[in-house]
Amino acid sequence: MNKTMLLIRHEFLTVVRRKAFIILTLAFPVVALLGILAAQVIPKMITPTVTIEKIGYVDNTGMFSGSVTEDQLQLVPYNSEDTAKTALVNKDITDYFVIPSNYLATGLVQRYTLKNEITPSSATQTVIRDFLLNNLLKGNDAAVVNRAKSPLNIASTTLNSTGAVAARQGGFAALILPYIFSILLMLAIFTSSGYLLQGLVEEKENRVMEILLSSVSPRQLLAGKVIGLGAAGLVQIVVWLISTNFIMKIASSSFGNVIGSLQVPPDFLILGIVYFILGYLLMAVLMAAVGSVSPTAREGQQMSAFFIIPVIIPIYFMGLIMEHPENIAVKILTFIPFTAPLTVIVRLGLSEIPIWELGLSILILILTIWGCFVLATKLFRTYLLMYGKRPDLKAIIQSFRES
């Protein structure tokens, strides 16, 4: 095994054996599974014993009659408001409503209750509405009455510019999937590059660096760290992706179509991994540069914020990116190396990104990574063995010139 491979293996195993890494990797699927479990179990645990609550009504129009029972709610007619009020005070009924004589003109129904609430419960509103509709549409076919109760189910289909059905169909999946993925992508990139920074500064503080450099070149050491820790981050992302699909299957069986529609398209998956790798490599080489010039872990973390903030900028523009994925500002974010990974992931869920845009974005990222790698290697060689003090910007620029 060559030296770079040995370093990769060492860095990879060191990180994946860390408790923090294992906990973070498993936290997402475990918490999601617990959430699903809780959503299934808790309602059963808290379902009250079935008791039918009674709601009284007083009809002043002479148009409404009958008694409806729906969702454990029963409507009971009263002849006058006084009798209804007495029944309410005696807790024979939970609430009552009055249909005034001018109801047809105003649609107003006056409700009285002993409960202190923000709005009437949806069950209460449904049973009252259905009661009113049943009476208003008396004499019509039952199918017409049912349709009047639920008159609209929209099924939208997005077409592309040629009139064919588009690959991206929008909807809840298009909204939530990029959101979840951008958070996971960001988390994985920052975790892996954070480990690199931490490992590098620790090796500096522990004085291991010089012993390593007597066996391997700075370039081998940097490559070993970047690839080894990147592989650990990739494992994390793959675990999350696989568990997302698995969790969605469980969720769709539990929650029906809404969650079931959350399927990860293959191109989304592939580009997600491509942008994870590129985003991680960019952050990793920058963290290596930061680690080279930072005398302590604390200073390293402070300096790393300078590069982390640009990466999370697309989070602040999430609304714009989701509503106007073709906006020029969004396109610019696609080409800026720091903002490209998150922007592309969010855009991918909502619209098809032209191939040239993806190609150019990836090319700019690769060139930036290479440039940063060259600079980071120079900083690595110059400042890795400088203990206890941080060079200022002038000294760093001078060292670039000299090298």
Binding site: M1, N206, V208, I211, L385
Partner: protein, 298 residues
């Protein structure tokens, strides 16, 4: 072929030359001392030899060739600023660093066990590095340095921070390395250690070579015209002796330019003084170091 051949190396940071026009060679199988005050440029010289820092000019050849990936495996390096992975076990540490020098795990484990037994630390092989004392950690670092049986061993301030017991253990191990034919370069500012162990030496100060040669050559160059005498009774005035200095039991007699040690001995005998010890007074390396470093300072 020399083990190390350094030719006119120069390293400057900005306008300040840290190592300036330094040349030396190290024979195979010898212990070579690199001495100098703090900040003299010893560590920078060693780092350039190890290809950790690139010289601005000059050449360095190790075992006859420019340092490469293969020849790096023939060198064991114990840096001045040293440490190990605190959370790693002793044996895992030895195996990992051996693997970076091209040694397979099985061989590394076997050699590691032998070296741990030699240092009487075999029972600590499964302990984490952070559980060891500082001295023990330094012995593990020496084991890591020599686990791949290198032809050239470079030790930068090897005795710093060691107690007398571990210092002696380290010295014994260095002697064993020499007797097995290894070449050793040892950098230190502790002159006694160099005097005790090294065959040849170079002293650098402010980045420049100020002393270079075998121990005997260096001492001879800085020898005073003086003798050390241990005798019974008072010496009194002796012709040709300009000064008498007492050093515990011995008296150092400083001679004038015309007087030889032989002449002084004859004059002592002629005065019926019983002489128990008579030897040429040679300066210690510490004295030479202070003199040279002091002269440079002036």
């Amino acid at each position: 072929m020399y083990a190390v051949e350094v030719n006119k190396i120069l390293k400057a940071y900005g306008n300040r030359a840290v190592v300036n026009d330094v040349s030396f060679y190290v024979n195979q199988g010898e212990i070579f001392g690199l001495i100098g005050p703090n900040g003299a440029g010893k560590t920078t010289t060693i780092r350039m030899m190890m290809d950790i820092i690139k010289p601005d000019s000059g050449t360095i050849r190790i075992m006859g060739e420019k340092l490469n990936d293969g020849s790096k495996n023939r060198i064991g390096y114990l840096p001045e600023e040293r440490g190990l992975y605190k959370k790693m076990s002793v044996m895992d540490t030895i195996i990992y660093f051996a693997s970076l020098k091209g040694i397979d795990n099985q061989t590394a484990r076997k050699r590691g066990e032998a070296l741990l037994k030699r240092a009487d630390m075999f029972q600590h092989q499964n302990k984490k590095i952070e559980e060891l004392s500082r001295g023990m950690g330094q012995i593990i670092q020496l084991i890591v340095t020599i686990i791949h049986e290198p032809d050239l061993v470079v030790l930068d301030e090897p005795f710093s921070g060691l107690d007398p017991v571990n210092t002696q253990l380290l010295k014994d191990m260095i002697r064993e390395l020499k007797s097995s034919g290894k070449t050793i370069i040892m950098s230190t500012h502790l002159m006694n250690d160099i005097e005790e162990l090294s065959d040849r030496l170079m002293m650098i100060n402010k980045g420049r070579e100020v002393l270079y040669g075998s121990l005997a050559e260096v001492k001879s160059k800085y020898r005073n015209n003086a003798v050390l005498v241990e005798c019974v009774g008072e010496i009194g005035n002796i012709e040709g002796v300009t000064e008498q200095r007492r050093h515990n039991a011995a008296i150092e007699l400083v001679l004038d330019a015309k007087t030889t040690p032989q002449m002084v001995l004859e004059r002592l005998v002629a005065k019926h003084i019983v002489v128990n010890r008579f030897e040429l007074a040679t300066p210690s390396l510490t004295e030479i170091f202070i003199k040279v470093a002091g002269d440079e300072h002036e």
